[in-house]
Each structure stands twice: as structure tokens, then as C-alpha cells.
Point group: C2
Chain length 320, copies 2
């Protein structure tokens, strides 16, 4: 399915490079290779899965349109994939989502339907709209076509690591529901068995790390959101967890300060804009070197949709 | 010579992608394709020319080492190209250069020799060192091997524009001494004759635009430096000017505010960190649409070595 997705994505998805910096190598004590999915269309890897799912719909079904729930990167990925296919997209977003994100999603061609988190159910609104208009729901991670799309990032990593002479390494992946992590893990299993995917999460939202350690799906019990909002999910997915349990190494957990520091170093050393949720893997590569082995580590920088104020805060505290 | 340089650079230089954003297209009123050389090794295109020159030296000559004068991007490019070849590099820098740039150049393996701009001549210091140690001088732009190295960026643009279906467009290039502009112009002449290079400069430092308009090399007469320090040179080069006069379209000149605005939009829409001198071409593409024709424009984003404080200033004023 990943290879089929790669075929559908060819010519539409951006083939992101693999970046390095001697300054980052020195901090980590090993070679650090960064896969900057912040450079992907719509600023995150989510466009891969969205394109994979939208492009796989039968033409007559697709023509009626798609629908998604998201206040963030998945919304933009689905909106843009639908627009590029010339079909309508409805995105259900909370009324209190940042105005810029609502504006961006609209600017990418989607119809945005706002709901009140306190009094309304997005599922009810979505189901009513979907059935009235015949829209197809694009789930953010627990959907095999989406996982296959994210897996195309793993195919690229396998080929690029081989070009760079890296055949044994941990591949650190920013992890929310596990779509990107499980997709990459499956691609590496087939194409680069010496590379091992490992999920990275922020402190307080380490449901995947705990689930992997415990051998069963465990939930987060703390606050509902935090600095790394793009990758905060209540628990790993029903489809993604078994894949991660079979293929991934232990999860890693980073602090908010490590995330902000990694953002500042990506600015200074890679010339990349990363959002907090997109910087957790790089943070683990740089600041937890004792948690991995080998002469190299690969970190997926999964997104860059960050407000200027938050980015500035990271620079003020940690830019070299 | 450009093709030969491309052969020497293969496997060592980064093949940067060509990025787009529907948000930028809307501002410019046409397709905007951005070549992000800020993602090149050492954060600017200068690594291409440095590698081209260092790799072309006869082995016995190269082994004695290289020398360059620069407080900026050329210094880092030469230092890293020399280090990768395993040969010494001496960089002559002014004592009052930013400490971070001095530290970075040293960290890239170079011996930094500081001089006092008021009382010492960098040429005298350099010539004494070069002759005592047998070092080869790597000039920043008026050197055919360096121009050929920068031209490899043009070969990539020609191929990538073809892939993107763009066969007629202006290629806007951030222009200091003209090494990058003339190298790209030569590559396009051979590989993509429908694409035309045009130099872009900041207000007050428009020596190349005036020289092209006047048909002869003219100097800047104002202050010695400004916001776009990386591309401030007194006049176009003796080698680069005739090439630009033969091949380039009219020069473009942008304001400092347009540059800062382009930096903020590259942050928000491309997830790229640009320095002011690396953002002038994008600024022209976005804010001077009337100065060009056609359905697409290509802008080279030539570097990203900017301090956090200045970057923050751009975001505070212009981030969407």
C-alpha cells in the first residue's frame, strides 16, 4: 500500500531532502540527519496522507467531496489535497481555533464549519453534513490509506540514508496518533531493516511510550493540550499501535525546554522553521544521546506551522 | 566549466528543492518558485563556488591550504570545503566581525586571522601569509572556478523549472559581486534559454542595476554596509559584469522593508530562515510584480545566516 501511495503521490508531493550540520553532530556526539517535512506542501507531512486518501477515492465518490475534523496540520493537508483534485473539502474546526489557522484553511479552498467545543459534538455535525452531501471522511491517522501516505516519507528516508552511507540507526519520529511513526516503520521494515523507527513525544503526553512499554493502549490522563499541540492525542490509534508495537523501538520523551532549544538550533544550523510538535524528534536526537546507539541518528522534523510569537520565544531563550 | 564543476560537486553539494506556496502566488499574482540555497551546506550558495575552486586545485597545491578574505558566507563556505578536503584554511576577518561568525568559521575548522580595519590591510596580511605558507587564494566572485560552481545552481534550476512546466520566466538572483548571478545566467543560456537571470539588490547598493543600465561598471557611493550585508559590494566584478551585461535582464532594487516582509513570509509560508541579503530576490518577486512578465517567476533565496535578533525584528513587523 505504501508503494501504491508513492505512485499516486509522485509529482504531487515534495521529495524533501535529508539535511545535516556539523554543529548538530557535535551536540549529539554522532551524525544527525534531519528529514524536514516542514518543507512539505502545507508545512507538514500531513499532506502525504491526505493526498494518499483523497487520490484513492473512486472518482464519483471523490467528486462529492471530503470532510475532516482538525484544527491544525491535517486540516490544511486535506484542504489542499482536495483543492488540487478539484473537489470540495469541509473542515470542522473549533470556534476558538487560532484565527490564522482558520483563515489559512479557508485560503486553501476549504469550507470551514465552526463548532463550540463546550456545547456541540463535532462528530454529530460532521456525520450530518457527510450524509447530507455524500462527503468522504478522511481520518487523521487511524486509516490505512493515510498511514500508507505517511509511509512514503519512510521510503524516501530508506533511500536517502543508503545514499548517505547510513545503514544502522534509530529513526526518531514526532508521534501523535502514530500515523507517521507506523507508516515509516512499515516502510523501513521493507526497505531498510537496519533502521528502526522510534516515537518521540512531549512530557505529559507520552501515551505511546507508555503503551509500548506496557504492551497495551494506555491513555493520557493529564491536560488536553500543551506546547506541542500538533502531536497531542489521547492515545495511540487502534491501527497504528499494533504496527508500532511490532516494529518500533522504545519511545522517547522530551521536555518543553528541549523542544524550544531544538527549534532554536534548527533555525541557526539548518535554516528551518519547526513548530514544537515538529521538533520533538530533533530534541531527542540532540539532548538524549544516551538513549540511542550507533554512529548516526535520523530525526524527522514533521512540521513547521508555528506562530511568530512562539517562534520568537524559542529564539530569545535558546538561539546561539 | 559549469558542467565540470557539477561533476566535482556531485555527492558533496546539496541538491536544494524548488519550493512553492499558494499564499505567495496570490501575493505576487503569478506562480512563485523559490530555490532555497539557505539549505545549502554552511547556509548559503557560497559553498558551491568554494567547493568548485578548492576541488579544482592540483592535489599538491591544495595540500598546502587555502586562504580567503570574508566576514561572512564565503568564509564559511571556504572553511567547510577545505575541511572536507582535509586541507587547512586561513580566513582573514575584521576584528569587529560578529563574534558568532568568527566562532562559526573556527568551528568549521578554519584558522581565523583577525585584523584591524582602521590600521591594517587585509591584503597585505593575506599576501604575507599566502606566500610564506604557499596558500591558494579563493576569491569570492571574480574567479571563473567560483562562478562555475555557483552556476551549478542554475543547472538545477533549469532542470527543476522544466519539471514544473515553467519554460519562460525571470530568474531573480540576490546580487552582490555577481558570482551567483553570472553563473546562473551562463547555465540558463545553455540549458533553459527561455529563463532569464535578473540581479536584485537593496536600495542604496544598486551598483549592478546602474551598471547594467549604463553599460559600464559603476560604483556605490553611499554607506559601506546596510541591512543586506551579505550582498553589499562596491561594484560588479570585472569577470561577472560582462557576463551579466550580455545575458541578464534589467536589475531590480528593493527597499529594506520589502526585504524584512519577504523574510517574514518565507518564515510563515515556506518554513525557511532567510537572511536579508538572501531575501531580496523573493522581495522583488512578491512586491514588484509589475516589473516582470509571464505566468511564473523564480526567486533564488541565496542564504540564511541571520542573527536571531534581526530575524525576530522581521517577524514582529511583518509576520501574518
Amino acid at each position: 500500500m505504501i508503494e501504491a501511495a508513492a505512485g499516486r503521490l509522485s509529482g504531487h508531493v515534495r521529495h524533501t531532502p535529508l539535511l545535516t550540520s556539523p554543529f548538530l553532530d557535535e551536540i549529539a556526539g554522532r551524525r544527525v540527519l534531519v528529514k524536514p517535512e516542514c518543507l512539505q506542501h502545507t508545512g507538514s507531512f500531513k499532506f502525504r496522507g491526505a493526498w494518499s486518501a483523497v487520490s484513492a477515492l473512486p472518482e464519483a465518490v471523490r467528486a462529492r467531496g471530503v470532510i475532516a475534523y482538525s484544527s491544525g496540520n491535517h486540516a490544511q493537508g486535506v484542504a489542499w489535497a482536495a483543492r488540487q483534485h478539484g473537489v470540495p473539502a469541509v473542515i470542522i474546526m473549533p470556534k476558538d481555533a487560532p484565527r490564522l489557522k482558520i483563515a489559512n484553511t479557508r485560503a486553501l479552498g476549504a469550507e470551514v464549519v465552526l463548532y463550540d467545543r463546550g456545547t456541540e459534538s463535532r462528530e454529530e455535525i460532521g456525520e450530518a453534513l457527510a450524509s447530507a452531501r455524500g462527503l468522504s471522511l478522511i481520518r487523521p491517522y487511524d486509516e490505512s490509506l493515510v498511514i500508507a501516505g505517511q509511509g512514503t516519507c519512510g521510503l524516501e528516508i530508506a533511500a536517502q540514508a543508503d545514499d548517505a552511507g547510513v545503514h544502522e540507526a534509530d529513526v526518531l519520529v514526532c508521534c501523535g496518533g502514530g500515523g507517521l511513526t507506523s507508516g515509516i516503520a512499515l516502510a523501513l521494515e521493507a526497505r531498510a531493516p537496519g533502521l528502526r523507527a522510534r516515537p518521540v513525544e512531549p512530557e505529559g503526553f507520552d501515551d505511546t511510550a507508555r503503551s509500548l512499554a506496557g504492551g497495551q493502549i494506555l491513555r493520557n490522563t493529564g491536560p488536553e493540550s500543551g506546547l506541542c499541540d500538533a502531536i497531542v492525542t489521547p492515545q495511540p490509534g487502534a491501527l497504528t499501535f499494533p504496527v508500532m508495537a511490532r516494529l518500533c523501538g522504545p519511545g522517547l520523551v522530551v521536555s518543553d525546554d528541549q523542544v524550544l532549544h531544538a527549534m532554536a538550533l534548527a533555525f541557526a544550523r539548518l535554516k528551518l522553521v519547526l513548530e514544537p510538535g515538529g521538533a520533538v524528534a530533533l530534541a531527542a536526537a540532540l539532548f538524549q544521546p544516551e538513549a540511542m546507539e550507533g554512529a548516526a541518528v535520523i530525526a524527522v522534523a514533521s512540521g513547521g506551522n508555528v506562530d511568530a510569537a512562539l517562534f520568537t520565544r524559542a529564539l530569545e531563550r535558546f538561539a546561539p
